[in-house]
Amino acid sequence: MATQEKTYLQAISDGLRQEMRRDQRVFCLGEDVGVYGGAFKVTQGFQEEFGASRVLDMPLSETAIVAGATGAALMGMRPVAEMQFADFVSCAWDHLVTVAAKQRYRAGTPVPIVLRLPSGGGFSGGPFHSQNPESSFAHIPGLKVVCPATPEDAKGLLATSIEDPNPVLYFEHKHLYRRIKGPVPEERYTTPFGKARVHREGDDLTVITWGAMVYTADEAAAKLADEGVEVEVLDLRTLIPWDREAVLESVARCSKALVLHEDTKTGGFGAEIAATIAEEAFEQLDAPVRRIAAPDSPVPFAPSLEKAFIPQVDDVAAALRELAAY
């Protein structure tokens, strides 16, 4: 399969374009996605190619965007809605959580919507433009949660999200947009939900993570490798569903696990993973499961504070060293 080196952002953009060319039911909507091409230029050139009726500029109302997408989906469309920032999906909580998530259970009608959620910090976006609210939605039965880390997965998981008959929250990490490049197949392909990806192999410690933290974990693991400790980095890729088997298999092998996420700690999805390991792999453990996450605070604006807030390579390396020495 021919591949091309692309940024994470380009992979999302090309993937979405490919889906729109392929399936007339697919359309996108959001604030400034049309004429302006999207706040991050994911849909640049889309209106020219697909017309204003398939690339809808919406009013400044997330409620209207999610509710409109839900209605269109009920009528058989495949809407891909962009929240300008993931943080603002909270405005649409009711339509997403009360209506879209439960519609199929109540009435049997699928709601195949995709919400594209530019999320994450690392560029001084402050408390309204930097959050990783995935765990809030992972808690809601009926929603799927996707967090790609690589350009290849970004494209493949977007295709799977659009195909999926359920509401899918597609968290695209802003800090990866132009920073991360990788080979992306030209052809259309889908990446399955619920299958973790081994980002780095190791037999001494397991790090379970997703999104931008995959790279933080990898850099920390490289440091540990220099010290003779082989760390396995598992990229979950999707949180709902998540690959319990892969996690439990890796923990059974390494017996020491660290769960890492950029979201805040309390009630974060890492707690679910740690609890599952404790429940199902207790007799495999040679150390307590560690969690590294952001502290329970809004995301600070000041660069120095934000750096202290988001888990850094040194934080992870230090925790890994402690685990290794335990």
């Binding site: 495999q284 453990l285 040679d286 150390a287 402690e322 020495a325 335990y326």
Partner: protein, 499 residues
């Protein structure tokens, strides 16, 4: 009960890896007046025995831990009340407090003698130090993780008999897997607990390269290096329950003889103290770890004897130090180690560790003949003969008067044991882990010896002879290497020309 001025006496932290201590003797009884810093009691830990001075003046109001009991660091041992206070009368029925009061967060703060932070050579501080602490893991004081417990159960292995490399000497999954892989334990049997130490068990023991009989001299009992002092802040809740003495005794370490067997007529039993438990565990573990081989060499000590006779008076009158034969041998051995660094080295994981310095441990037996301790002379390579002699005298004195600090017995890189004082002429001591070798020095005896006279003719002369043995870890040190070391040591002693 608190008057606000009472002072609690707590079990001090006698070193980073020491988690408990045993009260061996109360020197004061409830109701006795005590002065500040007056010795209140004696305690015994894995590493050292020491005296505990009173942290306050007044009256010993209450003794909470009786002689023979083992309690955790930080446990309140006694309460000192101000003189004339109401609590001076010892209660006839002391409050039953079988469980030691859990320590407040920082017991060390109350400890009368916090061990000084010692400038240890960097090499001994590396985090993944393979040297576990002396604490036997098998008596329940060290946390056994779920995976280690499961593997132990599956293989019928007692984790207490396995050297641990984890935090605080904890047995990690890797430790137990390695233990099983190297065939140290056969499936289905509970090895460590039942293997009588000297018996060549056909079942599963790793055969030493030269399986000599186990030596009668348990020479090197240096409590090995403590675990790295780094204490991760996010340490999980301590898994060690507060173990009261009876419990601790019940959960015997692996190497202890099972005590189910009742006493026969005429037999008597006494509890093992912490030192004996430590020795037992360390001896067994050392034999399980290293491939012990002993080589011996005879040394004509004529020149050393002559030098010593010459120096003796000067050293004693000027410095108050006796230049013992042990000092000569130690000095010569330290110099010789420079040329044969592996004898002063260590197998650490997959690596061979050597160092440019010699921290020489010298085995000192205690006065009652029960137990011994191996204080360490740090950087012995920097000392001349007088310095070596003085250091040996100092540590021996402090060992016998229980004035050693935990750091005095740590960090050894090579050990010398001297059972020759009893007239023995040969032995096969056991290596102090994780070192690579131990030198034995034996009785200096006059023997007929073939020498050459001035015409080159062989004649028999009377010469003072001393046997030296080097017991080495054959995994690291080959026979030729050990022999070369002994040859050079012999040459150095026979050609002694200093002073």
């Amino acid at each position: 009960m608190s008057t606000g001025t009472q002072v609690e006496v707590v079990m001090p932290q006698m070193g980073v890896s020491v988690s408990e201590g045993t009260v061996t003797r109360w020197l004061k009884q409830p109701g006795d007046a005590v002065a500040l810093d007056e010795t209140l009691l004696e305690i015994s830990t894995d590493k050292v025995d020491t005296e505990i001075p009173s942290p306050g003046a007044g009256v010993l109001a209450e003794v909470r831990v009786q002689e023979g009991e083992t309690v955790e660091v930080g446990t309140v041992l006694a309460v000192i009340a101000p003189e004339g206070s109401a609590v001076a009368e010892p209660k006839p029925e002391p409050e039953p407090s079988p469980e030691p009061t859990p320590a407040p967060a920082a017991p060390a703060a109350a400890a009368p003698q916090p061990p000084p932070v010692e400038a240890m050579p960097a090499a001994t501080r590396l985090p993944p130090s393979p040297s576990p602490q002396a604490e036997p893991a098998g008596n329940g004081r060290t946390f056994i993780s779920p995976v280690v417990a499961r593997i132990a159960a599956e293989h019928g292995v007692d984790p207490g008999g396995i050297p641990g490399t984890g935090q605080g000497g904890r047995v990690t999954k890797k430790d137990i897997l390695q233990f099983i892989e190297t065939g140290a334990a056969a499936p289905g049997e509970a090895p460590a607990a039942q293997v009588p130490s000297p018996a060549p068990e056909p079942a599963a023991q790793t055969p030493p390269a030269a399986p000599g009989p186990v030596d009668e001299v348990p020479a090197a009992v240096a409590p090995p290096e403590t675990a790295p002092p780094q204490e991760p802040e996010a340490r999980p809740a301590p898994a060690q329950p507060a173990v009261a003495a009876p419990v601790a005794q019940g959960l015997a370490p692996a190497s202890q003889v099972p005590d189910e067997q009742p006493l026969a007529t005429g037999e008597s039993a006494e509890p093992m103290n912490a030192m004996r438990r430590g020795i037992a565990e360390h001896m067994r573990r050392s034999l399980d770890t290293s491939a012990h081989v002993t080589s011996a060499i005879e040394v004509d000590m004529s020149r050393v004897v002559a030098t010593r006779d010459r120096l003796k008076k000067e050293y004693q009158s000027s410095y108050g130090v006796n230049p013992t034969y042990l000092a000569f041998v130690t000095k010569a051995a330290v110099e010789t180690l420079k040329d044969w660094p592996w004898v002063n080295g260590e197998i650490r994981g997959e690596k061979i560790v050597t160092r440019p310095y010699v921290n020489v441990g010298v085995a000192v037996s205690l006065e009652d003949g029960k137990g011994l301790i191996v204080p360490v002379i740090k950087n012995a390579q920097d000392l001349n003969l007088l310095g070596v002699a003085r250091s040996i005298a100092d540590i021996a004195e402090r060992a016998r008067t229980k004035k050693l600090m935990p750091d005095d017995v740590q960090g050894g890189t090579f050990t010398i044991t001297n059972p020759g004082g009893y007239g023995t002429f040969h032995g096969t001591p056991i290596i102090s882990q994780p070192q690579a070798a131990i030198l034995g020095t034996y009785a200096l005896v006059k023997r007929p010896w073939v020498v050459q006279d001035e015409l080159g003719q062989d004649v028999i002369a009377i010469r003072p002879l001393m046997n030296l043995t080097l017991t080495y870890d054959h995994r690291l040190v080959d026979g030729a290497y050990a022999g070369s070391f002994l040859r050079d040591l012999k040459t150095r002693l026979e050609g002694w020309d200093e002073g």
